[in-house]
Amino acid sequence: MPNEFGFIGLILAMSVFFSLVALVAAWIFRPKKPGRIKASTYECGMETVGTSWVQFKVQYYIYALIFVIFDVEVVFLFPVAVAFNQLALYMVLEMVLFIIILAGALLYVWRKGVLEWV
């Protein structure tokens, strides 16, 4: 098992190396003429109004929260799926009960109106 991840480390290094080589090669070949107007921020052709780090709409945070709940559920379900062939029926029913409890959470969130994009 550690031997497999050595190759993953290698391919990650290779991917980063490819991207870096592409960027460095482009840096050699491209024109470099910075200008004040060219480097100004794009706002559909006008001068920018206000600071660019605008207020974060809280609905994104709520979607991320619900994503975290379901992602943790999925992570718990992966070992059950891998060991599926060695499980008895009652173990599968326990997993189904786990999913139903979390589906209940989704139903609660839905009915409370949390999933609306207001």
Partner: protein
């Protein structure tokens, strides 16, 4: 002399399609030579070279698919795509690459320089690194990781981080808003993706890609139709392809999170998108259509196609069909709005995927001692029932929404009449 050079130039021009496809084939051939040990190499050098060529295979899709996309979209729109650069416009992608290579890279003032530069590198690396676990034949794979599907999900999540880095560091409120929207779409659609991935794992008992292909005595699109649908729609959303491309739609938010990028950094985002698209279509083929084997044919003929030399051709042709489906859907369906997109995910796909996991788990466990044919037919029937149920639920929700709109419309018809002139 000039005539001779013109002749040679004309010949190269005519042979350009062959050169392009030949170059791609040569990369695959070298990868096969290294991995299948047709020549002897010390093992460290073999691993390094295999990693290099696997990442290079990840960089190839953009060459082929950006051309293919423009041609296919053109034909669907009843026009020819690019046909100027090279015969059939085949080197259009390379011409675009050269253009982006030599464009000036403007960094906006006030941008966070470190993150601004790291974001495209991160996105490119996440897209290329996936190709280490995709098999082109039984032994022609970077590494046969036993947790390959978890690795794939992880690499998909790195994309979200890179998108947020790109949007945040651009010092541009539209890029930031685009990044927020993009990240909310990407993380939302990881849930049905992961839940749909559970069902083939349950049937096969392993998370490794080679294991999944070898375990498919009958291709999994028959017993797992709903999972195929969920996985495919989630892949469309994960790669930000239409109809989920609200983030990069020029008419909506300029270019979304990569508004301030130009030159090679923009090209890296572009490369990463096409590489991710090809990886997603290869995953669809590996999980649901039998990968590099021909499972339905192998039921009749007793040959394991995965160990013949036909295997790379099989998996690449199947992936190309799935990529054509990506392009076809892009050219046909209109874009959906972000709140419609998120509502589709949380109110339709996630409940459907939870029900799918429950039904497949119970049925597969109840039927695990019966024959393959019976299991396939019962699971197929259950999937069709689930799809029908989902269709009815959608129709009912649509009817309710229409009635609600009609009620709010009829309330306005008591408007006062326009006063006439005299």
């Amino acid at each position: 002399m000039r005539k001779f050079l013109t002749l040679i130039g004309g010949l190269i021009y005519r042979l350009l399609p062959l050169i392009v496809f030949g170059a791609i084939a040569v990369v695959f051939l070298i990868f096969a030579v290294i991995r299948l040990e047709w020549i002897e190499l010390p093992s460290v050098l073999r691993d390094v070279l295999a990693a290099f060529f696997a990442a290079l295979i990840g960089a190839l899709p953009v060459v082929l698919f950006s051309w293919a996309e423009r041609k296919v979209l053109g034909r669907v729109h009843n026009r020819i795509g690019p046909n100027e650069s090279g015969p059939f416009g085949i080197i259009q992608a390379m011409a675009d690459g050269i253009k982006m290579f030599t464009k000036e890279d403007v960094t906006p003032d006030g941008a966070d320089r470190v993150m601004f530069n790291v974001a495209p590198i991160l996105m490119g690396s996440a897209a290329f690194a996936v190709y280490g676990v995709l098999p082109f034949a039984h032994a022609m794979i970077g590494v046969d990781l036993s947790v390959a599907l978890l690795y794939l999900l992880a690499m998909g999540s790195v994309t979200s981080v890179a998108v947020l880095m790109a949007g945040w560091s651009s010092n541009n409120k539209y890029a930031l808003l685009g990044a927020f929207r993009s990240v909310s779409q990407l993380i939302s659609y990881e849930i049905p993706l992961a839940l749909a991935l559970l069902t083939p794992i349950m049937l096969a008992g392993t998370m490794s890609t080679v294991g999944l292909v070898e375990a498919q005595e009958v291709p999994y699109f028959l017993p797992l139709l709903v999972s195929l649908f969920l996985f495919y729609v989630s892949s469309l959303a994960e790669t930000s392809r239409a109809p989920f491309d609200i983030l990069e739609a020029d008419s909506e938010i300029v270019a979304g999170f990569f508004t301030e990028y130009s030159g090679m950094k923009f090209a890296l985002f572009f490369l990463a998108e096409y590489a991710h698209m090809f990886a997603a279509s290869m995953m669809t083929v590996i999980l649901f259509f039998g990968g590099y084997r021909l499972p339905l044919l192998e039921l009749i003929v007793n040959v394991n196609f995965g160990e013949t030399f036909l295997a790379p051709f099989i998996i690449i042709s199947k992936s190309l069909v799935v990529v054509f489906l990506f392009l076809w859907i892009r050219s046909t369906l209109p874009r959906i709005r972000l709140d419609q997109l998120l509502a589709l995910n949380w109110k339709f796909l996630v409940p459907l995927s939870l029900v799918n996991v429950i039904v497949v788990a119970i049925l597969a466990k109840l039927l695990e001692d019966s024959s393959l044919g019976l299991r396939t037919i019962v699971l197929l029937a259950a999937n069709l029932l689930m799809l029908a149920g989902a269709g009815f639920a959608l129709a009912a929700a649509g009817r309710r929404a229409r009635e609600r709109d009609e009620i709010s419309l009829t309330a306005v018809t008591d408007a006062p009449q326009l006063t006439s002139i005299h």
